[in-house]
């Protein structure tokens, strides 16, 4: 093996500090204990799924169902219990669109972006939702109460366009109906007295506008 030259540190002396200071530094590297609610949810999920073959996904679902997200600080405990590396667990959490590593907004509006809904005006509905909430996809409404997310097919393709509002399926969602649903969900303060009930199927007007498919497309050529 070749000798490796030590990098030149510019002559500055490296001060290690006193034993007491060193202990302090080392202690700061140890992650703080999990918050009690997080620890309870994670331990329950581990107990339920540790011995199940391929149990990592159901375990992560259990954590997210309990807490609303999968806290990054919980990954070491999950990895240890499942006999995996932290990288492997992080890989799974970050691979799947469903898992979140931070809490969501109190309310979630998920708009279907897939073809059947596009054919029934999903682009116009998204544009309306973005205006109404003051944010783009993956964003949060100006008041922070609603997360706007895309979803790719809810299997409600003959009653399009479709959405999930706080997990509840909604079909034939016109911009007016979306406003009424949001008003109903957020409290109707100042909102127009819209009717949140779905309409009957009818001929829909789909603007043919030049608006790009996604907000993120804006500015691309």
């Amino acid at each position: 093996m070749q000798a490796v030259e030590k990098p030149d540190r510019g002559g500055a002396e490296v001060r290690l500090g006193s034993p007491g200071e060193l202990r302090e530094k080392l202690r700061s590297l140890v992650p703080p204990p999990l918050a009690p609610a997080v620890a309870a949810a994670v331990n329950a999920a581990i107990a339920a799924w540790r011995d199940e073959p391929g149990g990592l996904l159901p375990l992560l679902h259990a954590v997210q169902d309990a807490l609303g997200y999968v806290p990054p600080e919980a990954l070491p405990a999950i990895a240890k219990a499942m006999g995996l590396s932290r990288a492997e667990v992080h890989g799974v959490v970050s691979y799947y669109h469903h898992f979140r590593d931070a809490p969501s907004a109190p309310h979630r509006l998920e708009l279907c972006r897939a073809e059947a809904c596009q054919a029934m005006g999903a682009d116009a509905l998204l544009a309306h939702a973005e205006r109404r909430l003051g944010c783009g996809l993956h964003g949060r409404s100006a008041d922070g109460r609603v997360a706007l997310e895309p979803v790719y097919c809810l299997g409600l393709c003959s009653t399009a366009p479709s959405a999930l509002l706080d997990g509840q399926p909604q079909g034939r969602v016109t911009p007016e109906r979306l406003d009424a649903l949001l008003a109903q969900t957020l409290g109707a303060k100042g909102a127009a007295a819209g009717h949140a009930a779905p309409g009957r199927p009818r001929q829909v007007a789909i603007p043919s506008g030049d608006r790009p498919m996604y907000a993120s497309d804006e500015g691309q050529t």
Partner: protein, 516 residues
């Protein structure tokens, strides 16, 4: 005497207010002193009529739809409880509605008719006969029945189910698995969801039979997380089936075992690919595996595994109950049996249409569908999900048949049909196909991982090109890229994303600024 009224619990009905309608019916009935028994059935599949309310009468069920909660009082005034026809929403006897009467419902025979969670109801409508027959047969005889029926995988690949089962049957192993692929991610597809929500015992019965046939004693249903109602229905049905001895260590007193569990996906489209699904079931990222080894030999946890789609497994109880010849009597050529077709997007009368193979797209779009919902001309029809080709009008008279579609570079896939009217910009839809692939690619192979992103860029340049020369260059580049993806991708995600792109380019060149 109590009047029986049905209001569907199918997610598509819930999405358009079925719960509110059910509550209004109970309220109105109580206020009027009418004794009503409310039953929550699956959907009949006439989704443009949802919420579809049915009333049981001496002459059979009478339908009303689409009903809104505020219609309910007027419906009672008009004699709803007697199935009377004095209201504009009165449709007449459900079974006589031509949209339904002209179908050939084998797999969907019970969906919308029974209470999905009642095993007694399931049995009363013929459920369980396939399992009873299977328990009386040797495993190889069950496999032979499925082979003889001509059943092919309904998930899209159309591989002969009997051959897959025989491979697993013949593979020696202490533990084998049955995996049901219920990761129905294709836009325009919802037949798996309707079966799981509307007749979950049929899927359970099909999986138990698959276990008996192959010697597998454990099964998993991998359901996408976007289907919470299907997951809930399946879990309830599995618990009931276990109590009834249809699952567990001693199925129907035969001494043979089969256990079944539901696993929830986590929002990854590519997990509908069978090897990615197996990776996900094993608790990893849904990364596609190279084949061989085939999952039938080295599948879940490395053991021999049957991976079948929901509709494939759901067809099995009937094949056993009525015999292979009965099922094979439907269809044409090498496409035997029926296909549950899902008509969606911009269509007036969308829903679930089960028919023998051989119907044409034109019949579906106009006889069943009634044309576009917008009333405008239909421009393009995507058959077989986001990886399926856009089928132009010149091909609407082809029979729906695996080989006929393959012959024109199209696919039937899972039987989902998405209709677009004349305002659809096919270049944008082609771009979306590439964008969706970039979003959902598992990243294992380069043509899919990189090709999809380059595809979006090339289509953007093609759409923005200043002159015919620049457009021609970009078109050549796009075609070359598509060829690389088709030939070089590991699975259908990258290998078929070019289908919608190239079909859009070939049949709608004007949308790309190219001359025809």
């Amino acid at each position: 005497m109590s009047v029986v009224i049905y209001v569907p619990r199918d997610a598509a009905a819930l999405a358009v207010g079925a719960d509110a309608v059910a509550a209004a019916i109970e309220r109105e009935a109580a206020a009027r002193g009418v004794a009503v028994t409310l039953k929550r059935n699956g959907s009949r599949g006439m989704l443009w009529l949802e919420p579809l309310v049915e009333v049981e009468t001496a002459a059979g069920r009478v339908a009303y739809g689409p009903v809104r909660a505020e219609d309910v009082a007027a419906l009672f005034d008009a004699g709803l409880a007697a199935g009377a026809g004095a209201h504009a929403l009165h449709l007449g006897p459900t079974d006589a509605l031509p949209w339904l009467a002209r179908q050939q419902r084998l797999t969907f025979a019970r969906v919308g008719i029974t209470d999905p969670l009642s095993l007694d109801d399931y049995r009363a409508h013929g459920g369980g006969a396939g399992l009873a027959r299977a328990l009386a047969l040797a495993p190889a005889e069950i496999v032979q029945q499925v082979l003889d029926s001509g059943l092919r995988g309904r998930g899209g690949a159309a591989f002969p189910t009997g051959i897959k089962w025989r491979t697993v049957h013949d593979a020696p192993a202490a533990q084998k698995y049955i995996v049901c692929n219920a990761d129905e991610g294709d836009s325009g597809s919802f037949s798996d969801r309707m079966v799981m929500e509307g007749d979950p015992f049929m899927l359970i019965e099909g999986m138990v039979i698959a276990g008996l046939a192959t010697g597998a004693t454990r099964g998993y249903v991998y359901v996408r997380s976007e289907y919470p109602h299907a997951i809930a229905a399946l879990e309830a049905a599995i618990a009931t089936a276990r109590e009834a001895g249809w699952l567990g260590p001693d199925i129907g007193g035969s001494g043979r075992a089969f256990e079944l569990a539901v696993r929830k996906g986590a929002g990854s489209y590519v997990c509908g690919e069978e090897t990615a699904l197996l990776e996900s079931l094993e608790g990893r990222r849904g990364i596609v595996r190279a084949k061989p080894p085939l999952p039938a030999l080295e599948g879940l946890f490395g053991e021999p595994t049957v991976v079948n789609n929901v509709i494939t497994l759901a067809a099995v109880p009937l094949i056993l109950a009525r015999g292979a010849a009965f099922y094979a009597g439907y269809g044409q050529g090498r496409s035997r049996g029926t296909l549950p077709i899902q008509l969606a997007g911009n269509i007036r009368r969308g829903g679930l249409i089960e028919l023998a193979f051989g119907v044409t797209l034109r019949e579906l779009l106009f006889d069943w569908g009634g044309g576009s919902a917008s009333g405008r001309p239909i421009k393009a029809v995507q058959v077989g999900g986001p990886l399926g080709a856009y089928v132009p009008e010149s091909q609407w008279d082809l029979p729906l048949d695996y080989e006929a579609y393959a012959g024109v570079g199209a696919v039937l896939g899972h039987g989902g049909i998405v209709v677009h009217d004349d305002r659809a910009d096919m270049a944008r839809l082609a771009r979306y196909a590439m964008e969706f692939c970039a979003l959902e690619s598992c990243g294992k192979c380069t043509p899919c991982r990189i090709g999809s992103t380059r595809g979006v860029e090339v289509i953007d340049r093609l759409r923005g090109a200043a002159d015919a020369g620049a457009r021609g260059k970009q078109e050549a580049l796009l075609r070359d890229l598509c060829a690389t993806m088709v030939d070089g991708s590991l699975c259908a995600m990258g290998g078929m994303t070019p289908f919608p792109v190239l079909s859009a380019l070939d049949h709608y060149p004007n949308d790309f600024g190219l001359s025809a």
